[in-house]
Structure formats: structure tokens, C-alpha cells
């Protein structure tokens, strides 16, 4: 009986080929690079299927009585299976421990869920922003209207204060030493320029364009929303746990979670989150190739503090002299 190439490949993965069929498969693979690529595509699926099923069994372990409903596996089949399954789990555990890589999607997804939960706090957060790299995408053609706009105040070195309810204050240092402050108290948004009137708007989105991420489902003033977006739009990987060299009380072991954007979704190409292993508190967020107007930035947000900032801190009056003119838009 002659089998077609796709059947040969499928039976190869299921360990069912005869010697002649195996030879036929090798000849087919040798005959064209397209054939080898087709084989690779099937192998990638085959391998990923294993990962998905293992992850699924970790998330949804079978109920104790579920085994009764499952088809009976004869004892002589079940025993080697149990041994090999135990071995697989032991090897997987060994790999995890030796390399400390949480490489299953399930482990990463569980950890991400924990980070989102840890964001649920009433305390205000303070982040320092560092811009590591600014790139202009090659295909971007800068329209005239955009070219005529005054440049945005620099984001590098800015301080971002965030409170629940979309409240924020962003303080950007200008090159002349003065500050450009924008923010929102959840009822109005506002901008305090170094000179000119203070502008206030009932449109809460009026001044949040100064923050990268707001238009791509990763608003920096709502980190938890961005983290939830990672679950669907990114491939998540966990990297090793790091133990600090010194033993200062604040230096808890940290871990890095790396999210790589899936095709067809918007947002930064990659997000790296450093967090405290014990508490799930985020220490640092790093966004690689994050769209920001016409540019793509690599931005680092380092959490500096977590404490209450006072009831008036997110009002514009807290950030300028009382004699400044205020214009409502």
C-alpha cells in the first residue's frame, strides 16, 4: 500500500512507519526544500500540541472521579504510562529548577494573573521614566501637520504619579530646567506649561496623549489594563528568578516576565516586567518599540514609591502658583 507524503509524515510522528515507508519519507524530504519546510510546519504543530495539552492538564487537572469515566487503560499499558508520565514531569521539574525557566504558557499565564491581582491597591504609585531608544519606523512618512507641531517635551527623566481611577500626574523636565506638567484627577484633565495659562478640560483624554501606550491598549496610567491585554495579544515567557547579591531587606528575589507581541495586534513589540517573586509587585516595566506618535520608543518605567500622595495631589492647583491664569477648554 502506497501512502501519500502527508500520511507518511503523520504516521512518522506517531511512530508507525515501516522501514520502506521511512525510506520513502527521507527521499521525499531530500527531494525539495519545500517538503522539508512542510515537514517542519507539521513538527512545530505536533510539538506545540504537546505543550498545550500539558498546560491544559496543569490548569484543569482531572477530577478524582473523572478516571472512572475515562476509557479503561489496561494495567500493562497504564503502568509504563504512569512511569513515563512521572519521568516527564520529573524531567520538566528538573529543567525548571536547573534553568529556572517557567517555559510553559500555563505557568506564565498564572504568574501574569498574580501580577494583575497585585496591582489592586489603593496606594499611589510613583514611576521614573527613562527613554532608552528612539526610532522612526522606515515606512513612516511624516505628514505636514505633524511636522508643524511643536516637539513634545522630553519623556526621558520624567516622573509619573498614578492613582486608581485614571488619575495621574506626569512631570517632564524641559531642557531649560523648567517643568511641563500634565495630569488628571479623574474629573478633569489639565496641562501646566512652564509659561502661559493652565489649560483644563472636561475631556479626560485631552492630555493623556503625552503618555505612550494610551492608544495601544497599554495605558501607563492603568498598568493592570495593559497586563490584561498581554494575556491575549502577547506570547508570555518567564525568565529565571534572580536573587540580589546583597542582603538588604528591600532586595527580594525578582523575576522577569517577557511578553512578545503576536502578529496582528497593536502595541509595543515586547514588554519586559521585572517583579518581586514573593509579592508579585512590579519593580520595572520595559517597553520595546512602543509606538509614540510617529516614533517607536524603548521606554523603561521604574517604580520608585508606593504610598498615599494626599487628596489634592492630582488636582492641577497642586502643581502651579495660585495666581496663574486657568483656561477651561
Amino acid at each position: 500500500m502506497t501512502r501519500g507524503p502527508s500520511e507518511l509524515v503523520s504516521r512518522y510522528f506517531d511512530d508507525l512507519l515501516t522501514a520502506d515507508e521511512h525510506r520513502a519519507l527521507q527521499d521525499w524530504l531530500r527531494s525539495s526544500s519545500d517538503h522539508a519546510r512542510e515537514f517542519a510546519r507539521l513538527a512545530l504543530l505536533h510539538d506545540r500540541l504537546r505543550g498545550e495539552q500539558l498546560a491544559n492538564s496543569l490548569i484543569h487537572p482531572p477530577l478524582p472521579n473523572a478516571t472512572q469515566a475515562a476509557p479503561a487503560v489496561p494495567r500493562r499499558t497504564r503502568r509504563p504510562f504512569i512511569i513515563s508520565a512521572t519521568l516527564v514531569m520529573a524531567l520538566a521539574a528538573l529543567l525548571m529548577v536547573s534553568l529556572e525557566i517557567g517555559r510553559t504558557p500555563a505557568a506564565a499565564a498564572t504568574e501574569l494573573k498574580r501580577l494583575i491581582a497585585a496591582q489592586e491597591t489603593d496606594l499611589d504609585r510613583t514611576y521614573r521614566i527613562a527613554v532608552e531608544e528612539v526610532a522612526m519606523p522606515r515606512r513612516h512618512h511624516r505628514p505636514d501637520a505633524e511636522a508643524n507641531r511643536p516637539p513634545k517635551p522630553p519623556l526621558d527623566g520624567a516622573i509619573l504619579y498614578v492613582r486608581k481611577g485614571n488619575q495621574f500626574v506626569l512631570i517632564r523636565p524641559m531642557t531649560d530646567g523648567r517643568q511641563f506638567v500634565t495630569g488628571s484627577n479623574g474629573r478633569t484633565s489639565w496641562a501646566v506649561r512652564p509659561d502661559g495659562p493652565v489649560r483644563v478640560s472636561a475631556d479626560l483624554t485631552r492630555f493623556n496623549r503625552d503618555l505612550p501606550g494610551h492608544e495601544h491598549d497599554f495605558p501607563l496610567i492603568q498598568i493592570e489594563r495593559g497586563l490584561a491585554h498581554l494575556r491575549d495579544a502577547y506570547d508570555i515567557h518567564l525568565l529565571p528568578m534572580e536573587t540580589p547579591d546583597d542582603t538588604a531587606a528591600d532586595d527580594l528575589p525578582t523575576r522577569l516576565l517577557v511578553a512578545v507581541k503576536k502578529r496582528g495586534h497593536r502595541g509595543p513589540q515586547r514588554v519586559e516586567i521585572t517583579y518581586a517573586v514573593r509579592t508579585g509587585q512590579i519593580r520595572q516595566l520595559r517597553f520595546i518599540e512602543m509606538p509614540y506618535g510617529p516614533e517607536h520608543l524603548t521606554v523603561r518605567l521604574t517604580q520608585e514609591e508606593e504610598r498615599p500622595l494626599g487628596s489634592l495631589f492630582f488636582d492641577h492647583q497642586s502643581h502651579h502658583e495660585s495666581d496663574r491664569i486657568v483656561e477651561e477648554e
Binding site: 502527508s6 510522528f13 512507519l17 522501514a19 504543530l45 500540541l49 487503560v73 489496561p74 502578529r263
Partner: protein, 174 residues
């Protein structure tokens, strides 16, 4: 942990899915795949100093994987059907070419798996969750091994078609 090791870990995390698929395509047994993959991971981290950043990392890691797979095949020294060395090299190149695109497409696999129903889902769980081969599956399901093999092929074809449909829809998105 020094910055170089962290960088090696980062690159390995991204390259690991394609290397894993290459290894399973040769060793075929999932527990053996885990063994070999662990050896590759350790070798990648230990020899990261010799990695030239001008070269694609996946290609470099695949070179290590080929060596580890050859060592494994020599080690098991059993009369089993294995690929000739020229086919191995040929395949490694094909995996490198397919890695980026396929890794992204396979992100749709989970939602496609959720669409499987009844017996298809059960077969998939036994084959991939419990790591049973068609002969053992046939025994527990009251089917012949040949029928199971054909059903598995059909399921994989369905999953591929589902993924391709989802990729096509995504490509049409603005």
C-alpha cells in the same frame, strides 16, 4: 546572575519552541525530547560566550541541537528508524526558515483546540496529554491502531486549517 547569562536566557526562551520542534521531529518520543532539550539548553547557556551576535541566535542554537540529537541517536544505539545525517541538516535549515512565521501562527492553536469536540478532543488528550501512541490508544478506545492514526492525522489537518483561517482573518484586519 550576570547580564550575559540573562541575555542568553532571554534569547533561548524565544528560540526554544523551534528547537524543541526540531528535536521532537528526530527523537519522536516526548520524554526523550525533554532530555535532549535540557542538554541543549545547558549547552546554550554554557557556551554563550562563543555566540557571535552578528549571527541569528536560532541558527546557532540549532547547531547545538543537531549535535545533541546526534549524540542522543548514538547513545540509544538501538535498531530504530532514524533520519540520515544529510536529512538532519536539511531539516534544521527548514526549521530555521519556518520558525518565526509558524511560532506566531501557532498562537491560534489554543483557540482551535477549544473547538474540537467529543472523540477528537479525547484522542488529542490521549496522544498529547498522556503521551500514548496509537497502539495503546486503540486498546483503550476499542479502535484499531490504523483507525486511530488516521483520526489523528485528520485532527492535525483540521487544526492546521483552523489556524490558517485565523491567520487569514487576522491578515485582513487593519
Amino acid at each position: 546572575m550576570d547580564s550575559k547569562t540573562i541575555q542568553a536566557m532571554r534569547l533561548w526562551t524565544l528560540a526554544q519552541p523551534v528547537v524543541s520542534a526540531f528535536v521532537i521531529s528526530v527523537v519522536r518520543d516526548f520524554s526523550a525530547r525533554d532530555d535532549v532539550l535540557q542538554e541543549v539548553a545547558v549547552a546554550v547557556i554554557e557556551s554563550f560566550d562563543s555566540y557571535d551576535p552578528q549571527r541569528p541566535f536560532v541558527a546557532w542554537a540549532m547547531g547545538i541541537a543537531q549535535n545533541k540529537v546526534r549524540q542522543y541517536l548514538r547513545r540509544i544505539q538501538r535498531d530504530r528508524l532514524v533520519f540520515d545525517d544529510d536529512v538532519l541538516v536539511h531539516l534544521a535549515a527548514a526549521f530555521e526558515e519556518e520558525s518565526a512565521e509558524q511560532s506566531q501562527s501557532l498562537a491560534f492553536l489554543r483557540s482551535c483546540l477549544e473547538q474540537l469536540e467529543g472523540r477528537s478532543r479525547k484522542l488529542c488528550e490521549l496522544r498529547y496529554g498522556s503521551d500514548l501512541k496509537p497502539a495503546a490508544m486503540a486498546e483503550s478506545l476499542g479502535m484499531t491502531a490504523n483507525t486511530v492514526a488516521k483520526a489523528l492525522q485528520r485532527i492535525r489537518d483540521q487544526l492546521r486549517a483552523c489556524i490558517e483561517r485565523k491567520v487569514a482573518v487576522e491578515m485582513r484586519m487593519p
